[in-house]
């Protein structure tokens, strides 16, 4: 991501590797929103997502010198956070359902449309959590993060036909859940 006047990813990486640790703050500010959203959708829990992304940033900082293509820093960060999410999912026991997966509590101050939207989001998140981690990852990268299959392949290390198949299966499973609730 390059914004006019803002340093490019490659420039930030060079500054951090040159000893300017503060420059890593640019990386965090630039990518944390997207990574937190991705991790939240993967893990179904904002707290677990914050832990996974924080761990991911720390790992990225420590191993920044191994980032071979600094101008593709975003892809590299997503790969790290994806692995942190998989690690969290592997550690989580089968019966461990994150607390904030529960549907949002209705706030009388919210409008009816807002409440309906919150309920829909809870339904979709539950349906997403019901998918296998591989399918969930593929769907979120494709439809939530808006990545191309080529970018997804670079992040996950999977072949494009495999990713396409996972996205297709995820769509089919989600549609079934959504149809069952309408």
């Amino acid at each position: 991501m390059d914004v006019i006047g803002a340093p490019s990813d490659a420039e930030i990486v060079a500054r951090v590797l040159g000893g300017d640790a503060e420059a890593f703050g640019f990386v965090i500010r630039r990518y944390e929103a997207g990574l937190l959203r991705f991790a939240t959708r993967m893990l179904g829990s904002r707290d677990a997502a914050a832990d996974a992304v924080a761990e991911g940033f720390m790992r990225a900082y420590r191993h920044l010198a191994s980032c071979r293509e600094p101008d593709r820093l975003r892809t590299w960060l997503y790969r790290i956070v994806t692995n942190r999410c998989k690690s969290h999912l592997a550690r989580r026991s089968v019966g461990d359902v994150p607390l904030d997966e529960a549907p949002p509590v209705a706030d009388p101050a919210d409008g009816e449309a807002e409440l309906e939207r919150a309920e829909q989001l809870a339904l979709v998140q539950r349906a997403l959590t019901g998918l296998s981690p591989d399918k969930r990852e593929a769907f979120v990268l494709k439809h939530v993060e808006g990545l191309s299959y080529e970018e997804m392949a670079a992040i996950t290390g999977e072949r494009i036909p495999t990713l396409k198949m996972r996205v297709h299966r995820a769509r089919e499973a989600l549609l079934k859940v959504l149809e069952d609730h309408t």
């Binding site: 890593f24 924080a54 979709v124």
Partner: protein, 202 residues
């Protein structure tokens, strides 16, 4: 699996223009897009910058501290062993156990032997063995069923000889052991079991 029309996937993958889709398939496409829009909404969480930068500025732990931390942290250790080696290990363990058990077992006198009592009493709460070796006194030699499979056992060291015995189930029911070496009639018209204890050291 709820397979959907492949054209829906083609539109969502950008391989087919949306207006090429028949009207009856557009709802599914819109449902997926709407779900993705909901999930794409920003997640309201506190920025991680201060948390991460605090870690960035923290001095790296010394080598000794890292080694200590590694040693103090639980690690899963996985062994990949061929089944043939598993069997070999099991056989070795069995042999060692036998040797060990022989070393620590009861020291038998020259004229003593071992009697093993086994009875199947699935619903029993307690089983004792009484006989000529304990003057038919209940409560002195208890059988055990450690795995709760209904099979009660006791191993007793006795002077070599021939003994009559019975089981006492739940402290009140006297039952002969039909698996005994033999059965003999007692003076009360019942049958007693007979066990022959042979000396271990000849």
């Amino acid at each position: 699996m709820n397979t959907i029309d492949p054209r829906i996937h083609q539109v969502l993958d950008g391989e087919l223009p949306a207006d090429a889709l028949p009207a009856e398939l557009r709802d599914a496409t819109e449902a997926i897009r709407a779900a993705a829009d909901l999930l794409a909404a920003p997640v309201p969480v506190r920025s991680l910058e201060s948390r991460v930068m605090a870690e960035v500025h923290r001095p790296a732990p010394s080598l000794a501290r890292r080694v200590t931390g590694w040693l103090a942290t639980p690690h899963a250790i996985t062994f990949r062993v061929r089944p043939v080696w598993s069997l070999a290990f099991a056989a070795a363990a069995a042999v060692l156990t036998l040797f060990y058990a022989r070393d620590v077992g009861p020291q038998l006198g020259e004229h003593e032997g071992i009697a093993q009592f086994v009875g199947r009493f699935p619903d029993a709460r307690s089983v004792h063995v009484v006989g000529t070796f304990n003057d038919w006194r209940p409560g002195t030699i208890a059988l055990q069923d450690l795995d709760n499979d209904g099979v009660w056992t006791a191993t007793v060291v006795l002077p070599a000889g021939t003994y009559e015995y019975m089981f006492v189930v739940d402290g009140e029911r006297w039952v002969p052991d039909h698996l005994a070496d033999r059965l003999v009639a007692d003076d009360f018209g019942r049958e007693n079991s007979v066990v022959i204890v042979r000396p271990v050291h000849r």
